[in-house]
Amino acid sequence: MAEAQDLSIFVRHPVEGIAAMDLVVEGVHCGACIVAIEKGLKREAGVRGARVNLASKRVTVEWSEGALEPPAILERLETLGYPAHPLAAETVDDEQKAEKRLLRSLGVAAFASMNVMLLSISLWAGADSDPNPATRDLFHWLSALIALPCSAYAGLPFFESAGRALRARSVNMDVPISVAIVLSLAMSLFQTIAHERTAYFESAVMLLTFLLAGRYLDRRMRRRTRDFAANLSAIRADRATKLFDDGEAREAPIAAIRPGDLVLVRAGERIAVDGTVEDGRSEVDQSLVTGETRPVEVSPGAQVYAGSLSLTGGLRVRVKNAATGTLLDEVNALLAKAVEQRSSCVRLADRAARWYAPVVHLTALATFLGWLALGAGWERAMIVAITVLIITCPCALGLAVPAVQVVAAGAMFRRGLILNSGDALERLAEADTVVFDKTGTLTQAKPALANGADIAADDLALAGSLALASRHPLARAIVEAAGATTPMIAHEFPGQGVSALYRGSRLKLGSVAFCKAEAEAARVAATWPDASLIAFRTPERAIVFAVRQELRSDARSVVAAIARKHEVEILSGDREPAVALVARELGVALFEHDMKPADKIARLKALEAAGKRPLMVGDGLNDAPALAAAYVSISPISAAHIAQAQADAVFLGERLAPVAEALKLAAKARSLMVENIWLSVVYNLIAVPLAVLGCVTPLIAALAMSSSSVLVTLNALRAHRAQG
């Protein structure tokens, strides 16, 4: 590493005198990697301990304070063959605590159900027929002794959530759950005191166990996707060269840069911050930010945005603290509005809960009144009513949705798509219109040579060797197309191009004006309206290269596949000819060009007003408000941070295929969720009449509840496969 780095913000101090840092490590996948990393790090002087977490692909390193500099650890890992990226010092947050709490509750509930079941099964198996009812009473009392404290502890997550809902004067799934658990425990206790034959302790704790399992799965899926997102952002964390007050330039992670700092940007580098140019001139490619492919000239006082590429010159940028009237400002204002207006999508499970709770409670009440009217004592009527509550408790319903979500999210992850939110799956399945941004979404973020087929191989090879001498990012595209490896000794004219003597003749590569290739340029520009042009001049002739952002390799087939079931549109901030060309290539009839962020939102709103549910796929700073406003949204991993934060899902890699896969998997998952909910309804249709008639014994309740939960879970496993 050529430059010193400042990593101090990543270092934690768990104990006095000891420093620790968490790192995301690339390429760890087996036991050998664990050993190599841990041993390799411990050999470094001063390192006290290193521990790899294979599941989260992270390593925690501890060293004696002051014994070594943090960058040394990164270098060590680099030489071991595992590039590492520091992770912002982690704080134990509420989410993590809640997850551990749920797992503890699940453990307690499982312990209670096993032991209560042990006692109950012996009663069902014949201990009940003992002439002496003392044994039965003893078993009931023992069950109460286990079930009551365990339920009080394990049921807290439900009781708390139900209390919150009731205080807010609404009903969620936890209200009927809490009512059923409390009532069944109270009734069983009452039965026990009265020396009755039946008690429902095992039903109550089993209910809790199944429900907690569903709740825990849901929680874990959300945490895993969040962890992974944190890893990704650490891996792609941009660095910037910060100018310190002592005049020294040091590379620092973006997280360590504060508003007001001065940052150095060299020609050919991506600008990592938003700010104002203090010094220097350059042409800046803002295509990833605004979608516009034509470079913009910047001079002192101009605004530049993170993600844009400085093409021709070095810049000194003052990191922005207070900005007014800029693109970023407009985006932020729109974003705040869009998030506010986002129609709160009602999740499937909540929708089910909305009619479920009243129906269950009314049925139980009707049963109670019915038995009273038929002349049964109020005790008997109460018992039957409570068995109705127990048997209808949404055991299967609590598992129906989270189990499918976990399996489907796993399947998507293997296909290169990470979900940011759990309900994205449902909204993705409901989307019927797909709106694409062009630049960076349908096209690749990296420019590539477009008209390579029209250029003689010899010329291309010569231009490639000459391009090696240039630092201009567009020159890289020519180097790659030519596969050039031997640079020419060339002279660089800043902002114009490079020139070299080759076998006695002068070669020039650079801007069209620099090479005097205006005539050829006009011809090439007509064919490739969205391309940037680079000219190459030999004594005999001039050649013009068109360098453009190529379509993603599978864009054509993926868009065609999506168009079969969805309407497809392109909304771009780019010029008309450039957008038209891409739309023609992809066979998309509907496209709009020169769209400002507000225009994109307006178009999405118009679609929603027409009853459509648009999926927005976009990546730029200018797409962020639209991503937030759309019914559901996806971003590529190369997207601007702000866009990624607004998207419901992020896809990895160069290919566009994950978007189509996501739509297919989401549709499958949604149909499985509905199927699961219907399975629970059918189960209730069979079990409830039995309960209302008073035929349900504790044994039947236990069998019915566990079999429906298992059925729903097995059905959820089918979400693995996207076919069908």
Binding site: A55, K100, L103
Partner: protein, 50 residues
């Protein structure tokens, strides 16, 4: 039925032991890295080096 006098407490104690073990494991981060633990079991870096 006298056998119940010690069998029931025994069953409960065993169950409680399992629960205590689970809670201990949870508190000590035994479930933090489920994949790595499988590999660590077969790594032989704890053998004395020759």
């Amino acid at each position: 039925m006298n056998v119940l006098v010690y069998l029931v407490p025994l069953a409960l104690a065993l169950g409680g032991l399992g629960l205590a073990a689970f809670l201990w494991a949870l508190r000590h981060g035994q479930f933090d890295d489920l994949e790595g633990a499988a590999w660590r079991a077969i790594s032989d870096d704890d053998l004395p080096e020759d």
